[in-house]
Every structure is written in structure tokens, then in C-alpha cells.
Symmetry: C2
Subunit: 518 residues, 2 copies
């Protein structure tokens, strides 16, 4: 049985994860790292082809040449999202080589990776550390994975690799375009996905780096989002991704009247709180509500002739329109969610690709997340202490990754526009099932029934005095919701087994997830 | 007295440099590095301002906050060349703080840094490791520097820092444009110098990084050639550079009939040797002969409708013209030598900035230098074994840095277009005063009196059979020159003291430089 201790957030967390001691969460900004960054082996050009041609005939050969063996750690990125055709092939090749007990550290896994459940079952893969969206999350929730899952934010993954907490033996980087030297970019090619920022840490810190592409161009591949000087081998395959599942032609704004109301309230809140002013910045995701928020904000900006200094993506057509219309100087983009985003990144010098290092790494000399005037994020649950959950549902099932969510909480004003209930299950609760974001970092919760401002943000409350916005206490909102749906959600049926640990941005354990029963 | 041993090139070299053991040169590609790369300390955002404002009031305060103390190592770059106004101020501030025995590791020092001789004399600076052009080289040659100088190529400087051979305590990065977070670029601003690639290693590996700028812009500074996430402090000063001395409006082609002949022979050689073909690549410097060579080559390319895949700079108006005319897909640029280069890098996505990591680092997974079809370089001396010298003159005086010269020898065809004598002193000699490039890596020497092909390159000799080019043996050429000028150069008057070590691209010691007498 995993030994648990109570951390600074009052959550019981494991003191050991897969045999390695873990540090319990100590509070926001409390844990101070020691030591020096991880460092890859020194190589010599004498051991690489002088003509720069690092191509290997196929993935299996490349893995063999990389020295793949039992128990190794494989890194991969998720820019191809649910259209990724590479990760499954990597592990099938590993299986064909008879290798076992691999640790997979993807920046995220998607439903397209469901076939890997078979390899988790037959011992090729030991466990996954990374966001598990959908079937793999469900599999983990059922307590069927041999090792403990580890959920990290995008910044947390960088931190863990940088700090040497996670040593990647072999990184496999799916690249929409690459040259034989290993320079690679995501902004062009049949499987274009925009950028490759999630793979940057892998390219810098892994012992061995394999680039896989279906669009080999002569040296130099420009831009080189991944630098060939960090790459050991290049594998060309027919198809690395299903373009229709990587990016959609359009990302849809919400049509739900409730969600539209939430989006509008969020934009009005930003305006009345004095956030929308010349040179400001904001980040909003690609969900329907967030997109609608961006449109309402755009209207305010147009009307008042306000220009943002930068907006942060996940980029979409809507952000690209704002850039092209001159409503912002820059898009600082962490991933492109549609084809307009990919095109803009390729063509517009004001559409700049970023990485978890620049944007989110807590163990750096500052990061971009804390410079944002407003961040608009989702949540599966928010409790009366403004603590929020983004990975599990109220039934305890792990179904979502953390993404950049945790990292974004460092912004100057963190806003969660959420419906007060979903499918008659309240989103506002007494205590979140899984703690992902400490309440002290969450400033505002916007629901269709009113806006709750964190009482710690007296400055915001002061600014909004006399506002016509429906400001309410979070407990009031919760009580109203419970009255509508007939009480708080049923407690989840959980077993004792800890199936996954949730790491805070500094590598400490903020919470853990238990096996779901029945 | 420094103990010396004979290395694989037959040169006597010190076994110890400034108290640290040194590895003698073992032959091309023979030395294999061990261990892992250097790693900077892990930091936490908790220790940096959340609003991203890292500005310090002045250089002295910044150095104090950085913990400057006796014996530390300071890194700096030379993109501002002879117009640099920062380095002298750094050491004056250090002197004002009463600090002593500093080691200065610039990527190069220029005549504008002559005032630092006073600080070398009074103990503030202990010694310099880096290219010493002009007065500082002369000072070192006289045996007056307390420590031993260390000369490294651009790639060798990266290698030494990356491998932990040189640990930089504090890097001071002069930046023509920067934001308060520390993002910085060289491609714009009153002291625009194009790029900041020589400072990249410093930003990645130093314990503490200070960006100094005279053009502060609001976050984000785009492009971020130096990433603010690696920067600790930002200092704003009135003027970081004298623009007239950083870049010249035009770089002049040679007017000397002999040099024009050499340039033309070099271009014709490339053509007849089959190097000039669609998709080829070349690198030529910014000297008068190299520029003329590029023009002759351009004429051949125009006439035969040949397009290069990439050319490498030092960029100038001439390379920029080729890019804009469509004679090359890309310029991969290591430094901009004129304003046309700066503008082109700023505006043209095909004009790409590089760093010693991508271009030259021998302890990487390959580098760009070995991918070049032809490299055209200078030399102060070449001997009958095709060995070449680029740092000292025949009188033994250290007057030039290595630059990327050593690294470029990895190219597929290394050509030295040199006059056979200068000021009645032969360039072709029996044995070079200082060995910088082993003869096996130098393929062709082009003089006004004929072209000598290294006998090891039978493939080239084969291709040129029946050519009308004046192909001659290198000993013949040397004999002819000696006849004209009245014999070989007088041997330099050298003392016993070793004043500087010359490092090969892999960090081993290929030669050393002795004190010049009289």
C-alpha cells in the first residue's frame, strides 16, 4: 500500500512514486529547488555523418541503434493531437524488438492512443506519465496500469525534465517537415500542426533524439523549431498524422445561451475591472466559451480602440483575425488549434511560437504566464475556497490532462467561466475531488447565475463597487445550484489504490487520484 | 616554467593552463569527450519579479546583485565589434567595486578594448581567454598578462562552455534591443548588429546573465534571439555601441590586381572542380578577396543559371543581393558585417541567424560547417604540409583571433586564397609559426602565382586533369616566392614564456604562442 502524508493543501499524497521519493506540496511559491539542471551527454561530430545525413531506414532500426532496452523512458509530444500516427508505431516497434517495461512520457495522450492499452496489458509499457485524455485516463482510473500515473502541467513537464526528475532516454519527435540533419518544423507539410514546442525539452535533454517525418526537405529546414544539432537520427515514414484530426478547419464558438451569457459576463468583467486597456494581454483557450469570450472582448476593443500588446494562444482563426486586424501586436502561441493558426504562424512574424520553457516553466528566471493581465480557463469543479479541479469529474474518473492550466494560474487575474452545473451535476462544490489549482490563485468564477470574486482580491471588489454585474458570494451560488439539481453531487466510489499523482508546477505532489470502483 | 609535451602535430604544448590540466591535441577527430554537459543552477520563478521587470538601475548595482567577487569569470560577446561601449564599462564598474583577478572570456576583443590594459596591469583583470585582435594581442605577446591567454575558435568557445571547461559566473550581454524581462535581439535598435549568436552559450550556461541595452521596448521583444527566461537582470544605458564602428555602410571589394586574380582563380577552381552546381553551398568571409570571390562566383552562377541552397555569412550587401536575386535559397548567418546584412536579417525569413552551436560546435551531433561544399578562408601563413596559421605573424606576434576559421575546416573543400607574400614577407613557409589548422583539412591554396592542391585530395586533382588553371606544387610556389623576396622569413625572436595556448575545436591544445622579444 502506498504510504500517504498530508500536504500543505490538506490532501493526502504518496511519499513515493514508482519507487522514487516524492516531495509533498508545500504551498504556492514555498518549495525552493536545489542543485543544477539535468545535462545530456557530450557528443562529438566525429560520431555523426560528416555529410549531415542522419536518416535511418525505419523506426525499428532507429530504436535499435538508439540502444532501446527494458525499462527505458520514451518521450513524445502531442502537437498532432488525436491525429498522431507515430506514438503507436513507436511502441509497436518496441514490442517487435521484445522490449518491456517502458515508461512513456508524452506531453499528452489522446483517444487515438487507445491501442496502447494492449501494450500496457502485455508488459511492453509499464506506465504513462503525462496527460491522459479519454480511454487511457479511464484505463488508469480503473487501477489497471502497473505503475502510478503522473500528471503534470506543460510547465511541470518541462520542469521535471529540466530538473532531472524525469530522465528521457529516447525522444521520438513527430515532425511535419524535417531535413536529413534533423532540423524540424511543425508549420508546414501535409501534417502541419503549427509548432513543436512541447517537444523542445525532449530535444534538449534526452540522451537520444529521433525525428520522424513524412516530409523530408533538403538541408536546411527553415524554420528549425527543433534544431538538428540536438538530433541523432531521422526516420521518414509515409504519414505521421491524420491532418483532419490534427487541426480542424474551424473551431466553433458556443451556441448555448447560458455559455454565451457566461462569455459575455467574463468580457464585461474584464472591462469593468480595468483590465482592458491599451497594451494589455490575455490568454483564452479554444473551448466554445473561451472563443466567445474572445469575440466579446474583441468588440469592446474595437469600440474603444484598444490594442493589446500580446495575446496568448492556443491560436485559432479568431486570434489570427485580431492580429491581422491590428487589435494586438503579437500572438505568443503555445499550440495552434486550427489551420488559420498554422498559416498565420508560418507567414506572420507577429505570430510567434513559444515553448513551455518560455511560457510556463516555474523553475526558470520568470515565465510568460505571470505577465498576463487576464487568463480565462475552464474547470470540471470549483469549490467554495476557489480551489479548482481540471483532471477528474465528480465521479472520480480521470478524463482530462492539465495542459497549461496550472501554469496559467500565475497570471494577474485568473478567471474561470464555468456553468454552475453540467448534466444536473453541480460544478460548484464543497471540496473539489482532485485539487489542481489552489484557491489563492483563482480570482474570479463566472457562471450563468452570477460572478464570484475571490474575497482575497479586495482590489478587484473595490474596482467593481457599484457595478451592474451580478456579483455574488460563491457559497450563495453553490446553494442555488444545489437547490436546482437536488443537492450536492454524490461522493465518488473510490478504492484505496492511488492510480495517479498530480504534480504542482514546482514538482511537488499537490494531490493524487484513486481507483474508481464499479 | 610551464611544462611542455609534444602533441600529435609535433608541437610543444603546455600540460597545464592557468593551473588546470590541459589535453594535448591528438589528431583530427581522435579525441573523444566524456561526461555530460555543464548545467546551470535550477532557479525558481518565486525569486524573480512576477511582473517580469528585471531592470536594475545601473551596471555596478547589477554586478553587485549578481554577487561579483574576486576571481570570477565574466563572459561577453563581440557582435558590436570595434564599436562596443559595454565591456570597458563592465570592468570599470568591477574596479569601482574593488574586485580583483577577474577572468574575461569574450568571444573576441577589439582595439576599442585597449583601455582594459590598465585593468590588466592593476590586477582587476587577471587574464583574457578569447580572440585578442590588435593591442590586447600585442600586450599578451609581450608576456605582460599575468595568466596564460587561451585562443579558441567560435565553435571552441561554445564547446568549452558547454563541456564545463570554462564556467562563466556572470555573462554581460550587450543587446541593441531588449525588454524588461530580458528578451533581446540584435536586429534592430540604434546599435543594431544583426544577431547575438556569440552570446547564446553565455545566456544558456552562465550562472548569472545580465542584458545591457540602450533600446528598451515593452515585453515582448520580438525576435528573442536571447531568451529572457535565461536572463537575471536588465540594465539600460545611454549607448551600448558606436554604430559607425559596428557595421560599415559598405564593405569594399579588393582593388588590388593580384587579389582580384586570386579571387577569380578561386571561383574558377570551384567551377572546374564541379563544386558550383544546383543546390550547392559555400561560405566566404568579408575580406576584400573573399568578397571578390563571391562576385566572380555570382557571375558564374548567373551565367549558368545555378542556384545555391544556402550560403553562409558573415553577411554583406553582396550576399544579401544574391539572396534577393534568387541565387540562393538561404543565408545562414553567423554575424552581419554591414547594414544591408542587418536589414536583410530583420526583414527576410530566408536570412537566418545561426549560432556557434548550430554552425561550429564540434561536441555536438554534427554541425553546419561540415555540410558546406566550399569554404574560402584567409591565413597569415601556410606551410608546405598545407598547415596554416591565422593568429600570429611570421614575427611571432599575436594579432588576430581564430573566429570560425578552425571550425570551417570541416567543410568539404577548404580553400585558402592568399597572396604568396605580404610586404616582402613570404606567406608560404616551411613550417607555420603557430599551427591553427592541420594540413590534412586544407585542400587548396590559391595564390597569384598558381594553385596548389593538397596531394591527399586525389579526387580534386583527378577532376582538374587537363584544366587550364595554373596548378602547381606548393613547394614550387614557395621556392619561387623565396627567390623574389630573397629567402624565407627570418625566424621570430621568441622568449621561453608561453603567453597563450591555442585550442583545437575539441578543446585539446594544438599549439602555443611564446613571448615576443624586442
Amino acid at each position: 500500500m502506498t504510504k500517504l502524508v498530508e500536504n500543505a493543501a490538506g490532501r493526502l499524497v504518496p511519499v513515493e512514486i514508482n519507487g522514487t521519493p516524492a516531495v509533498p506540496y508545500q504551498g504556492v511559491g514555498r518549495y525552493r529547488p536545489q542543485g543544477r539542471k539535468a545535462a545530456p551527454p557530450i557528443r562529438s561530430c566525429a560520431d555523426y555523418p560528416a555529410d549531415g545525413d542522419k536518416t535511418a531506414p525505419d523506426l525499428k532500426t532507429a530504436l535499435q541503434r538508439a540502444g532501446l532496452r527494458d525499462g527505458m523512458t520514451i518521450g513524445s509530444h502531442h502537437h498532432l493531437r488525436n491525429g498522431d500516427l507515430v506514438a503507436n508505431q513507436v511502441f509497436r516497434a518496441a514490442a517487435a524488438l521484445g522490449v518491456r517495461d517502458l515508461r512513456w512520457v508524452p506531453s499528452a495522450a489522446f483517444p487515438c492512443h487507445a491501442p496502447l492499452i494492449e501494450l500496457l496489458e502485455n508488459g511492453v509499457i509499464h506506465h504513462i506519465e503525462g496527460s491522459m485524455n479519454g480511454p487511457l485516463g479511464d484505463y488508469c482510473s480503473q487501477g489497471r496500469m502497473r505503475g502510478m500515473g503522473v500528471l503534470r502541467s506543460h510547465g511541470g513537464r518541462w520542469q521535471a525534465i529540466q530538473d532531472g526528475e524525469v530522465h528521457i532516454d529516447i525522444a521520438v519527435i513527430a515532425a511535419p517537415t524535417a531535413d536529413p540533419f534533423g532540423n524540424a518544423t511543425g508549420d508546414r507539410g501535409p501534417a502541419a500542426c503549427g509548432l513543436l514546442g512541447f517537444a523542445l525539452a525532449d530535444s534538449l535533454y534526452a540522451d537520444h533524439v529521433i525525428v520522424v517525418t513524412d516530409n523530408l526537405v533538403p538541408f536546411p529546414c527553415i524554420p528549425w523549431q527543433i534544431q538538428g544539432n540536438n538530433v541523432d537520427q531521422v526516420v521518414v515514414m509515409d504519414r505521421i498524422g491524420d491532418a483532419t484530426k490534427i487541426v480542424s478547419g474551424t473551431t466553433e464558438i458556443t451556441k448555448s445561451p447560458d455559455r454565451l451569457l457566461i462569455a459575455e459576463l467574463t468580457a464585461r468583467f474584464c472591462d469593468e475591472a480595468g483590465i482592458v486597456r491599451d497594451g494589455f494581454s490575455f490568454q483564452a483557450g479554444a473551448g466554445g466559451t473561451a472563443l466567445s469570450f474572445a469575440l466579446f472582448l474583441r468588440d469592446i476593443m474595437r469600440e474603444r480602440r484598444i490594442k493589446a500588446r500580446f495575446v496568448r494562444g492556443g491560436s485559432t482563426q479568431y486570434l489570427v483575425d485580431m492580429l491581422e486586424e491590428g487589435l494586438t501586436d503579437y500572438i505568443l502561441d503555445g499550440q495552434t488549434f486550427d489551420l488559420a493558426g498554422v498559416r498565420s504562424m508560418r507567414e506572420n512574424p507577429g505570430h510567434v511560437n513559444t515553448s513551455p520553457f518560455t511560457s510556463y516553466n516555474w523553475h526558470g528566471k520568470g515565465n510568460f504566464a505571470s505577465l498576463l493581465d487576464a487568463v480565462v480557463l475552464g474547470a470540471t469543479e470549483v469549490d467554495v475556497g476557489f480551489n479548482a479541479n481540471v483532471v477528474t469529474h465528480s465521479d472520480g474518473r480521470l478524463l482530462h490532462g492539465i495542459g497549461g492550466w496550472m501554469n496559467c494560474l500565475a497570471g494577474r487575474c485568473t478567471i474561470l467561466p464555468v456553468p454552475s452545473f453540467r448534466d444536473r451535476i453541480p460544478v460548484l462544490v464543497d471540496r473539489v475531488t482532485t485539487l489542481c489549482g489552489p484557491g489563492e490563485l483563482i480570482d474570479v468564477v463566472v457562471t450563468e447565475r452570477g460572478i464570484a470574486v475571490n474575497p482575497q482580491r479586495r482590489d478587484l471588489l473595490e474596482k467593481l463597487r457599484g457595478s451592474s454585474l451580478p456579483l455574488r458570494g460563491i457559497r450563495d451560488l453553490k446553494a442555488e445550484v444545489e437547490e436546482i439539481v437536488g443537492g450536492p453531487p454524490a461522493p465518488p466510489a473510490l478504492g484505496e489504490k492511488v492510480v495517479a499523482a498530480v504534480k504542482w508546477v514546482d514538482g511537488t505532489v499537490i494531490d493524487c487520484i484513486r481507483e474508481v470502483r464499479g
